[in-house]
């Protein structure tokens, strides 16, 4: 078979392009992987002189595991409380003329527009006044500020996407409002609720700014742990932590890839 030179050229360009993309995306991340196994690495060597899992062993037996557990505990609490708060609100906003509806919508939107740090710094002052500073409930509350404003909008969108006729049919047959919600709207909303809970969970797991301001020095989640290690030039420890921190996000990316729409992800474009 004769090889078409034009097609060869195109294939070369395509491969070069893919290589460039891979480098841009994985270049920065590869340094984490290399540092995580570098037992000895001084310049001018391009690669570590000594490679091994020494630091992995050390890190996994250290405070990191406590931070990991703490992070999962906080994220679970944040997710459950957020669901409890936002599912009814989302349903009400999607279906009814709630009193002060547009004001409520606005209050749930505006926090997404403004920088969080100056606000959280003042919220920290407030939480310390209530003796919630540097406590787990304090960190849960500050995570919830971020997750609530996000989840209210998603829940409203989820319930709006369920045709109202489905519920009217149930009411028409004599079902009560509560029964209609529990047997029609809620089951239909489950996929949306699950997807947004996963995102809220990930948000809490990755949250840094609020945790640093309110949690320090006693509540140290994984991102704060990693920050401390990186600033203390424990590069191996920080890199291993960073790799661990990436796992939940990557799992979620593979799980939710098909459902990723920009409007549902506002929370991850920030800070």
């Amino acid at each position: 078979m004769k090889v078409n030179p034009g097609a060869m050229g195109r294939a070369t360009v395509k491969i070069a392009f893919l290589a460039l993309v891979l480098f841009v995306i994985f270049g920065p991340l590869s340094s984490l992987a290399i540092w995580s196994v570098a037992e000895k690495w001084y310049w001018p060597y391009a690669l570590p002189q000594q490679v091994g899992l020494f630091y992995w062993g050390r890190v996994l037996g250290s405070d990191l595991m406590r931070s990991l557990q703490l992070g999962f505990f906080i994220a679970t609490a944040v997710t459950m409380l957020t669901l409890l708060c936002t599912v009814p609100v989302g349903y009400a906003l999607a279906r009814f003329d709630v009193l002060f509806k547009s004001v409520i919508m606005m209050l749930f939107l505006l926090p997404q527009a403004f920088p969080q740090l100056p606000v959280f710094a003042n919220a920290a002052v407030l939480l310390y006044k209530f003796d919630l500073g540097a406590t787990i409930p304090g960190v849960v509350l500050i995570h919830m500020v971020g997750s609530l404003v996000y989840a209210v909008w998603i829940m409203t969108a989820v319930f709006k996407s369920i045709p109202v006729e489905m519920e009217e049919a149930a009411i028409n047959l004599g079902a009560s409002r509560i029964k209609t919600f529990l047997t029609i709207a809620l089951p239909l909303a489950v996929p949306g609720i699950v997807a947004s809970s996963l995102l809220v969970f990930l948000y809490s797991l990755d949250e840094f700014t609020g945790t640093l301001l309110i949690g320090a020095p006693f509540v140290v989640t994984l991102p704060v742990f990693m920050y401390n290690a990186s600033m203390g030039y424990e590069l191996q420890v920080a890199s291993i932590t960073a790799l661990l921190l990436m796992i939940p996000g990557m799992v979620l990316l593979v799980l939710l890839e098909r459902y990723l729409k920009a409007e549902y992800l506002s929370m991850f474009g920030r800070i």
């Binding site: 984490l32 391009a46 003329d97 990186s230 990557m250």
Partner: protein, 272 residues
Amino acid sequence: MRRLENAFWFAFAVPTLGIVLVLFFAPFLYSALGSFQSKSGQLTLDNYALVARLYTKDVLYTVGIATFSLAIVLFIGILLCGYLRVYGNKLVEFLFKIPLFVPFVVVGHAMRVFLAPHGILNSMVAQIGLINLDNPPSLAYSWLGISLALAWKNMAMAVLLILGAFRSVHETYLEAARNFGAGAIRQTLDVLLPMSASSLAVASVLMFTSMLASFSIPLMIGGGKGAQMTMIDVYYRITYQGDYGAANALGVVSYLLASGAAIYYLRTVTRK
């Protein structure tokens, strides 16, 4: 009766609203008020005078970095999304979603080691002999490093937003151009870009304000000396000097810079 029912549904929103009001809007107002108060509680404009004296350069620096970063993101994003829209490439599309779920602190740390004077990037470039490692250029700890890290992280969001806008342009508009021999770049610049200009403007405003408000990336990759991004200034002012007045004044400046996004969000509510 109807009013009663509306009030009933309102009751569901109260606990949620309460948390947001107490932990977001109260501190928000508190920071705005605090910016006009001296340490002893008197009304004053001193904090703003201090901000103007010490931080004008930093505010400009922040705006500069956000602008530069946004330019990178838009330039690459538009060409890339044009290519993805016209030819389609599932693998590349997936790869560009990865940064979205890499936490900000991880991006900060990864870029720190990647762009450091003796980091991976310089080592690689040195291998092909382009730079001398005895006197390496450093991207980390500089405005360029912050910009690149922010651009890398925001690229995922940009691809989602721009590709979404490009996908909403019906295929026939592209075919009509292809009919006359327009290639991928012409189709992108002549058809896709102008037809999704308004969504792109919104996306730009949102990305720009989120870059202005970035904290963890400049915290980890920014230089210790010279100009800082405003959020770093706010943080240092509070943790090292305990000076809430000046920090809040700087905070108010950052709110004003974010007002473009705020106006957009207000519009979405009033439109509904």
